[in-house]
Subunit: 239 residues, 2 copies
Amino acid sequence: MIIGFIGFGRVSSRLAQILSNYECITSCENRSTKTKELIKNSNVKVLKTNKEVAKKSDVLISANSTKNALKVASDYGKYCNGIYLDLNNISPETSQEISLYVTNYVKGAIIGKIEREKPILYLSGEKASNLLFLKEYLDIYFTEDASILKLIRSIYTKSVSASLIESIAIAEKYNLKNDFLKVLSLTEGNNFKSSSISRINNTIKNKDRKIEEIEEIIDYLEDDDLIILNVVLEKFKDL
Amino acid sequence: MIIGFIGFGRVSSRLAQILSNYECITSCENRSTKTKELIKNSNVKVLKTNKEVAKKSDVLISANSTKNALKVASDYGKYCNGIYLDLNNISPETSQEISLYVTNYVKGAIIGKIEREKPILYLSGEKASNLLFLKEYLDIYFTEDASILKLIRSIYTKSVSASLIESIAIAEKYNLKNDFLKVLSLTEGNNFKSSSISRINNTIKNKDRKIEEIEEIIDYLEDDDLIILNVVLEKFKDL
């Protein structure tokens, strides 16, 4: 079983680590110095071209930036005879388009942190069940459409982040920030404080990307009832 | 130690049960049939008037409807020589007013369900520490202003309820409601599903009261940055 990676950032390097019982391959073709460094520090075999990687893989994993996902699929999907697993954070529309370039297309969505001991992976597509063997290394779930599921999940999580930011600002105004985090921990779970702080920091750090994601969601869903998400967008822009 | 209750609904009857090691007293004066029934089923001593209850109590607990909290304080506060503990869901403004009628005023806020084995009680006020003896029966915390803390907490919890309602509606549209609840349980904690469903049901059931509460919060805080809470209000009105 050969697992190939096109794109070798945080997700791929973590997966190569987890899946080291298999032969993992990638290529340095068109890769940045930083990526080449990550590849050097992983136990993956390096081939000359992405085309070779695509041809040799039983499972070809595309984990790139959102913007490159479609190009990777159209450039290399045709060489892949195994399963083509897209792990990019793409819209359901892009996912649909990718399926036109690729034969055995499986859409995957990593949920939560890739650094978990057993990262959570939702899969959809006709051939999704072929990847069930990964369940030893990943927490695998199947769904009708992993891309839409991740998108709807993110409506909720982004709204919660924005609600936190709004209410903590008031708490700070009244010098009650610590009491606010404490009182919610009592009913929302022990790790509320740490998870809230990491939620807020993550939002501030990735503000621009999150704004883009919300705009894409709003465009894609065209739903007049998304009134909270529209204000979440404003909130993020004001950060 | 005598603990008196003015107002005898869900909160008082639960507290009388928890604090049954003390002498608990109340009165049926001006009480509804339903309340009289609750009193009959509790192990409290029944005095003729609220005035007598106020006079005899070492701790006088006012647990009434939001609207009656101020009147109870102005009518009976003056007879109370012990601690006057207000447990009503009142605005910081009303709490301020009550303190004018009452000598040993302590503001208390029940957090979460009163049905918990050990209900959570936040206390504020100069004499708050006099109630530390209750910690055997209640989960006691002190804060600068229990009323504002509960208010800010409710900005967050109401916004989360509205975010849930908004995102679940989209999930339902795509037939992904169960997957949505499941995928969030994986990162937000095991009881996410049950707590979310109870959150939504509770919001729908108490819609009118929650709308009133939000309007009061917005009025009280006069903060231009409460943009999410303003849309939460719209969302609740549309339910």
